[in-house]
Symmetry: C2
DNA sequence: GCGGTTCTGGAACAGGTGGTCAAAAAACCC
DNA sequence: GGGTTTTTTGACCACCTGTTCCAGAACCGC
């Protein structure tokens, strides 16, 4: 009977995910990961193979969480979908503003910018991640249309991907230190741009 | 009389800028810079101080070029300002689409995402860079308003920063491999969202 | 040619990197 | 206790990293 593991794999991946989210891939050393996870080097290699493989596991974990969060906030009955969209957009904008002393920011952007151009595994995951997020947004927009909260003649797919792009832009400007009020104004304007239902002639 | 330099400082900075734009800061070694610039290590250190100082020089150079390019495309007479905005947005969108075998992408985003959270020198430059680009966009929008091409009752500042965010989002999605047609659609919709001049009552 | 100044490049340096390895540990069975 | 299996750890490894250093080079004036 072999010696049992002393760690929870999910907890280790989550710790690694947080480390990679803050410092990226190249600037994260194995010693950083040892410190973050509490495991020795041999255990990390034994459990995950190598640094790259652990990174991909962490990235997948991050994507799952981001998509699950979006779903939790955007999924629900048709009626009220527009309010959920508004709340989600406002929450992402709020999370994008800098908090002093805290290394904030989204791992999707960081990995994409750092690695997508040179690492096909990462590029594929980045594209998939953004498409999953887009799909959740599009579905919510379709629901708002079905509920008569948005103009059902508009292209939900285009609205969804535009909203996604705007949110990504907000996140980048937030990293650069753009004030929260400015980020919120961008978010509000994006929401205001969603096509309202035309007033029917009485 | 001292020995003269054998290199053109601007050419070296441009070469370093291109290297950093492609591979970022942490993943660019001094040997990479030696290869990119054609200088020996001692010469690089003698001329620029250290890796970080060279990076900042390269980043400043990139910002100057990006802002100069935006100005070249957006500045001009009031009349035609909207067309120039459209052309600029379309050009940025087009440049954001992946070209096989080529490492594309904007150094502003890369440096911001990689370093702004941990390096104040970079963070300050990132914020300044984005604000300069925003100012060029806002000025062009104001001109379009003065020429009667856009609704002069709209807030040019908010329109400008929204457009900047959308372009940043397009760039990120492009890095992730989003097809060019999708990027162009986002750009078109952002332009379509600029407030046209209201038709006067006859 | 000599002297003075600065530039050049790559060897040398101290420290860091990702990965390997083997002794000890933890579990179960006989 | 011995045997077997897997896990754990951190010392060790070959190589890499950013930086320093200095012998030689390039220039001018005497």
């Amino acid at each position: 009977m072999a010696r049992p593991r002393t760690f929870d794999e999910h907890a280790v991946i989550a710790a690694a995910r947080e480390q990679f989210r803050r410092t990226g891939y190249a600037a994260t050393s194995i010693d950083d990961l040892v410190r973050a996870t509490g495991l020795g080097k041999g255990s990390l290699y034994g459990a995950f193979g190598d640094k790259h493989a652990l990174f991909l596991r962490a990235y997948d974990d991050y994507r799952d969480h981001a998509v699950d969060t979006a779903r939790a906030e955007l999924e629900g009955p048709d009626a009220g979908a527009l309010d959920r969209i508004r709340a989600y957009v406002a929450r992402v904008s709020c999370d994008s503003a800098l908090v002093p002393g805290e290394e904030c920011g989204c791992m999707l952007s960081k990995a994409t910018v750092e690695l997508a151009g040179s690492d096909d595994d990462v590029a594929a995951r980045s594209l998939e991640s953004f498409e999953l997020l887009e799909a959740v947004l599009v579905a919510a927009i379709e629901q708002a249309q079905a509920a008569g909260e948005l103009d059902s003649g508009a292209d939900a797919g285009r609205l969804g991907v535009s909203l996604l792009a705007t949110l990504r832009g907000i996140e980048l400007l937030g990293r650069a230190g753009k004030p929260a009020a400015a980020l919120d104004a961008i978010a509000e304007d994006a929401l205001a741009g969603l096509p309202a239902v035309a007033v029917a002639d009485a």
